[in-house]
C-alpha cells in the first residue's frame, strides 16, 4: 500500500503546479523506495525505463529540416496556398485533416502528422489562411482558437486512429499484459476491430465540432470587425 505514496506525489505536485520533471523524479524515487525496492534497483529502473522509451522522443530528428524550411518561408507559403481554394473554410479544412490523420494512423502511418512536422509548419498556417481569406486580419483570440483546434485535430485523429492498427504500442501493450498476467490468448486483430466503433464516434464528434468552429468564427469575427467585404473584393479581382 505504501507504493501508492508515489501516486499521491504526482497528484499533489500536479495540483500545486511544481516543475513536472521534478514531480516525476520525486514520484519515482518515493514509489520505488516505499514499494520495497533498493536504491540501486530504483536507479537501474530509471535507466532501463529511459532506454526502453527513447522512441517517444525521436521526432527531434525532424526539427532541423522543419526549422530550415521555416527560415525560407514554409509557413507563409502554406497560408498563401490555402487562400486559392475558395470553398475551403477553416473548419472544413481541419475536418478533412482529421479524417486523413485518422485513416493514415489506422494503417500504421502514425509519423505522417505531428505537432512539429505537420501542425506548426503547414496545418495551422493553412487553417489561419482560410480564415484570413474570409475575414481579413485575425484578432489574437481567433488566431489562438484556430491554432488550438488545429492541434486538437491532429491529436484526436492520431489517438482514435492508431488503435485500429494491429502493430501499435497500445494494442501490443494490451495483449502483452493480459496474455502474460492471466494466461489467456487474446488476438491483436480482435482488439483492433473493437477500436473501430470509438474511432467512428471520434470522427463524427470532433468532425462536427470542427465544422461548428466556422460558425463560431463567423459570429465572433463578423461582430468584431465586419470585414466580410474583403472576400467579395478578392473574388471580384480573381
Amino acid at each position: 500500500m505504501l507504493a501508492l505514496l508515489g501516486v499521491l506525489v504526482v497528484i499533489v505536485g500536479f495540483a500545486t503546479k511544481r516543475n513536472p520533471l521534478l514531480v516525476v523524479g520525486v514520484a519515482g524515487i518515493v514509489t520505488g523506495l516505499f514499494g520495497g525496492l533498493s536504491p540501486q534497483t530504483v536507479l537501474a529502473d530509471f535507466g532501463t525505463g529511459f532506454a526502453a522509451s527513447r522512441s517517444v522522443t525521436i521526432f527531434v530528428i525532424t526539427l532541423p529540416v522543419i526549422g530550415l524550411l521555416e527560415r525560407y518561408g514554409l509557413r507563409e507559403q502554406a497560408g498563401a496556398l490555402i487562400t486559392r481554394f475558395a470553398s475551403l473554410t477553416t473548419g472544413r479544412f481541419l475536418a478533412i485533416y482529421l479524417l486523413l490523420r485518422q485513416l493514415t494512423a489506422a494503417v500504421g502511418l502514425t509519423t505522417l502528422g505531428g505537432a512539429a512536422q505537420a501542425v506548426r509548419p503547414m496545418v495551422a498556417p493553412m487553417a489561419e489562411g482560410a480564415a484570413e481569406r474570409r475575414y481579413g486580419a485575425l484578432p489574437e483570440r481567433a488566431r489562438e482558437k484556430i491554432r488550438s483546434f488545429a492541434a486538437s485535430a491532429d491529436n484526436v485523429g492520431l489517438f482514435f486512429g492508431e488503435d485500429c492498427f494491429l502493430a501499435v504500442g497500445s494494442i501490443l501493450l494490451i495483449t502483452g499484459f493480459v496474455n502474460t498476467t492471466y494466461k489467456t490468448h487474446l488476438e491483436p486483430l480482435d482488439l483492433a476491430l473493437w477500436a473501430i466503433p470509438t474511432a467512428a464516434c471520434a470522427c463524427l464528434i470532433h468532425g462536427a465540432r470542427l465544422l461548428y468552429l466556422d460558425r463560431t468564427l463567423e459570429r465572433e469575427l463578423a461582430a468584431a470587425g465586419g470585414t466580410l467585404p474583403r472576400e467579395d473584393a478578392e473574388e471580384a479581382a480573381t
Partner: protein, 322 residues
C-alpha cells in the same frame, strides 16, 4: 540490416551537436545548464544501446536521468535569442520558391510510408533490410535524412550548420517539457515494479459493490481516464485499472468479452490524454510550438470531444461486451 539503434545514435549525435551550439550561444543567460541538459540527453540516447542489450549497467544511466531532472527541475535551463529570418525575408522567399517549399516537408511522410510498406519486405539474402519491428521509426529517420538533402538542394543552402541552428531554436522553444513523456513512461515502469497496480486493485475491490456490472463499467472507464490524466499516459493507467476492475470484475465475474472491454477501456484512457497537461508532448509542446499565449488552448479545444467519447466508450462496453 539497418538497425534501430543506429537511428538512436543519430538522434543522440544531433542532441550533442545542438548542445555544443548551446554552450557557445552567449545570448542564452543559462547556456551551460542548457547545454549540459541536452548533452546528457544525447549521451544517454547513445549509452542506452548497451543498457538495452544488457552489456552495460543501467545505474549510471539512472544517475544521468536524475541529473537531467535536477538541471531542469531547479531552473538551470533557458533559451537564447532565436536566430531566424525577418518576416519580409520569409515572405519574399516564399514568393520566390512557391510550392517547392513543400517538397522537402512532404518527403518525410512519403519516404516513411515507402519504408513502412515496401522496404519492410525487402531482404538481402536472409536478413531484412530494416530491423524487424522498427520499420516505422526507421522510416521516419531515413525520411528525415532524405528530406534534409532535398531541402539543402531546393533552397541552395550550403552551410550544414544552418539547419542545425534552426532545429536548435525549435528545441529551445519547446524546452525541457519535451523530455517529460519519456520520463512519464519511465515512471510507469517503476510503478509496475513497485506493485502500484496490485495496491489499487485491492482498494477498488473493497469499495465496489459485487454484481453491479454497469457501475463497474463506469468505474473502469472513468478510472482509466482519471488515472491517465494524473499519469499523462494511458499506458501507465492500463495495467493498474485492468488488474483492479477490468479483468477480475468485468471479464471474470460478469463474463464480458475481453476484446471489447479492453479495447474500449484503453480508448477511455486516451480520452484522459486529451485533457491533461501531463501529456506534454500532445498538449503542451504543440501550444509552445504554435506560440500560443494560453498554453492550455489545445486542451480546451479537446475537452468536450473527450467527455463525449468517454461516454461513447461506456456505452460501447455496456452494449457489446455482455
Amino acid at each position: 540490416m539497418i538497425r534501430a539503434e543506429w537511428f538512436y545514435w543519430l538522434v543522440g549525435a544531433v542532441f550533442l551537436a545542438m548542445a555544443g551550439q548551446m554552450a557557445m550561444d552567449r545570448s542564452n543567460p543559462k547556456r551551460f545548464g542548457t547545454a549540459a541538459f541536452w548533452g546528457l540527453v544525447g549521451a544517454a540516447f547513445i549509452y542506452s544501446t548497451w543498457v538495452v542489450n544488457k552489456t552495460a549497467p543501467a545505474e549510471p544511466l539512472g544517475v544521468a536521468v536524475l541529473a537531467m531532472v535536477c538541471l531542469a527541475g531547479f531552473g538551470r535551463t533557458g533559451r537564447g535569442e532565436t536566430r531566424t529570418t525577418a518576416a519580409e525575408q520569409r515572405a519574399a522567399s516564399a514568393a520566390r520558391l512557391g510550392n517547392r517549399l513543400f517538397v522537402p516537408a512532404l518527403t518525410i511522410p512519403v519516404v516513411a510510408m515507402v519504408c513502412a510498406v515496401l522496404v519492410k519486405k525487402w531482404h538481402i539474402g536472409r536478413t531484412p533490410v530494416l530491423q524487424t519491428g522498427s520499420e516505422t521509426i526507421l522510416g521516419l529517420g531515413i525520411g528525415t535524412v532524405a528530406a534534409l538533402v532535398v531541402a539543402m538542394l531546393v533552397l541552395r543552402e550550403r552551410r550544414p550548420t544552418t539547419p542545425l541552428h534552426a532545429g536548435r531554436g525549435l528545441l529551445e522553444t519547446m524546452g525541457y517539457v519535451m523530455l517529460l513523456p519519456q520520463l512519464l513512461a519511465t515512471l510507469g515502469s517503476i510503478f509496475q515494479a513497485a506493485g502500484v497496480g496490485n495496491a489499487v486493485g485491492k482498494l477498488t475491490q473493497h469499495v465496489l459493490p459485487h454484481g453491479q456490472t454497469y457501475t463497474a463499467v463506469i468505474v473502469y472507464c472513468v478510472g482509466m481516464a482519471v488515472f491517465t490524466v494524473i499519469m499523462g499516459n494511458g499506458f501507465a493507467a492500463f495495467p493498474v485499472l485492468t488488474a483492479a476492475v477490468g479483468w477480475p470484475v468485468l471479464v471474470e465475474q460478469a463474463h464480458g468479452r475481453p476484446a471489447v472491454v479492453l479495447a474500449a477501456g484503453m480508448l477511455a484512457g486516451f480520452c484522459g490524454t486529451l485533457c491533461t497537461p501531463m501529456a506534454a508532448n500532445y498538449n503542451i509542446v504543440p501550444a509552445t510550438l504554435l506560440e500560443l499565449k494560453d498554453q492550455y488552448g489545445p486542451i480546451k479545444a479537446q475537452v468536450p470531444t473527450a467527455v463525449a467519447l468517454l461516454a461513447c466508450n461506456i456505452v460501447i462496453i455496456s452494449v457489446f461486451a455482455f
